[in-house]
Amino acid sequence: MANEDGTCKDAAPEALADAEAAWRADQLAADYARIPPRRTEFTTLSGLEIKDVYTPSDVASIDPLADIGLPGVYPFTRGVRASMYRGRPWTIRQVAGFGQAEDTNARYRYLLGHGETGLSTDFDLPTLLGHDSDHQVFSREVGKIGVAIDTVEDAHALFDGIPLDEISTSLTINASAAVLLAMYRVVGDERGIGGDQLTGTIQNDILKEYTAQNEYIFPPDPSVRLVVDSMAYAAEVMPRFNPVSVSGYHIREAGATAPEEVGLTLAAGITYLERARQRGIEPDSVAPRLSFFFDVHNDFLEEIAKLRAARRLWARLTRERLGCRLPASSMLRVHAQTAGVTLTAQQPLNNVARVTVQALAAVLGGAQSLHTNSLDEAFQIPSEEAIKVAVRTQQILLHETGVGDVVDPLGGSYYIERLTSDIEDEARALIERIDDHGGLVEAIKSGYAGQLIANSSWEQQRAIESGERTVVGVNAHVDETSGDPGIAAFKLDPGVLERQLARLHQTRASRSAPRVREALGEVRRLADVEEANLMPAIEEAVRARCTVGEICNELRDAWGEYRPPTTF
């Protein structure tokens, strides 16, 4: 029915409610009488209740302007840009990293050659945890799950021939991120590229390491100080670079639900900005360069609603709680990655279907950049063939499906809007509970945040094992004849460690020992001065060819290493 001016007429709420009640009593009841519901209870993957159908009554409390609004406008529910992908498509950003810098550089060129539009780096564990490649025990892990970086010479080799003033780079590193941030700046500088021309993101979100990924070195308080230092440093010397990517991905992968992922992530973002303010750094001066990183899991509609909810809640928190006034401070720009945890080693070709649906959720949820997992990642570093399929998946979504041709196409869906609001409410409630524990840092130290995730993880495992949740190829449709899936094996060059040690020793031999001593001494001295910014001293140490391990050892000496109790 239409009004005289052609607009739709709003049905009277009572009439709608009556119609729905009658429909439940008649049509729906009759259907269920013939074919009972498949389950006694329908819930999302995160356990939120799902009704049979959603109607305008379910969104009556949601304000079309204040809550949903328009894309590019506060509270950014529908997207951070007005035009979204009609203007610039999302960035195809596949993370890559293995072996020596040259090996990863070759993979970058392969990816760029196949249409990737942004770079992303995974580092090996010794680098991530501030150890050099010649560490007595941990040298066994050099180059295994990421690229080995000891000094800025390695960083030069990593980005050799890559136009850093044209392409944005993401650096997936946390505990030792301050050193790598300085390295990126120094690589640009030594190549004649100014800090203001460098674009990209460093993960540098230490708080989720304590709750989810466990790649921490120092205790939480000095670690957060280092994050604040790098935020202030980047704002000054590399203003287009995102110095933190506040990450829900690892929290979700560790077993959290979607609302927990949003709540814990935004709580971390708040913590960084509040700690900055305590140091006299106004949130509006650093918040616009905070970026975010979320998982896109299997529950397609829930994941779309999650990204919308995260944007709206972040907008509100920055304005209401932190007093931000700049619109850019309230924009949650998000990199999304398909859920590694959903990949199965069994029947690995099935993973292509999973990744496609998850990637579609990221796009419909309005992500700014996207990593699609490769089909073989449940058992190896992706082969070139597998990673190409992952890139192609994004290209097919972009060019063949039309999903990027309209902004927020699911906005206004009764179910999506209801779910968006429910996730926002649950995440906000979690942030309040964390506040009751004295904030996220205290909730980490007391074990509250970690236990929350462990419990959700356990519930999900039980649901799969009881058959309550079906995982195709794992607890249903299992192939007893598990033959060779025909996927190329990824082979890491066994000579990586030897080559890396050769360069490390050569760099150590050719640098100025007094300059190294002085630079490291300054890092050690400033580590004790809480109100100082450590970054300039770290940058000088990087320029002096100090290693990641040497710089981190100075900080270990000052702050100690974090060892939480082991519970399960």
Partner: protein, 141 residues
């Protein structure tokens, strides 16, 4: 399942090896084995072959479950098996779980690892394997 008379519950050390912090699987396995009536010691993260073998020895465990998602499983596991032998703990059932390429899984079995469990393995399968293959040590009289 109740332990049979005269036999203590199976004792398992679940260990995270090296710098890899991905402990979701290790914790789920630890909890599942405990719920199945076994005695479980979880080492926490950042363990070396030395600290793991010491824990097995001190705890007098007959099963060692190693979790690795860091790609360094070949080097580390070889060291652990050597050190177990040197410590006279040849009979310990060693299991490896995590992201393990198929070719490596075959090599690990040849080296003496009892079984390899990759992502998606139901915990019931792990429990059944341990119950069937753990060397049973009788209680001291």
């Amino acid at each position: 399942m109740q332990p049979r008379q005269g036999r203590r519950p199976i004792k398992v050390v679940v260990a995270k090896l090296g710098l890899d912090g991905h402990d979701r699987g290790a914790k789920v396995i630890a909890r599942s084995l405990r719920d199945a009536g076994m005695e479980v010691v979880y080492t926490g993260i950042f363990q070396t072959p030395e600290t793991i073998v010491r824990t097995v020895l001190e705890e007098d465990a007959e099963v060692l479950g190693i979790s690795s998602l860091s790609g360094a499983h070949m080097e580390y596991t070889t060291d652990i098996l050597d050190q177990l032998r040197q410590a006279g703990l040849d009979d310990v059932l060693v299991l490896v779980g995590g992201v393990i390429p198929t070719a490596d899984a075959d090599d690990l079995r040849r080296l003496g690892v009892g079984q390899i469990f990759t992502p998606g393995t139901p915990t019931a399968q792990v429990i059944a394997f341990v119950e069937a293959h753990a060397p049973r040590r009788d209680l001291e009289p």
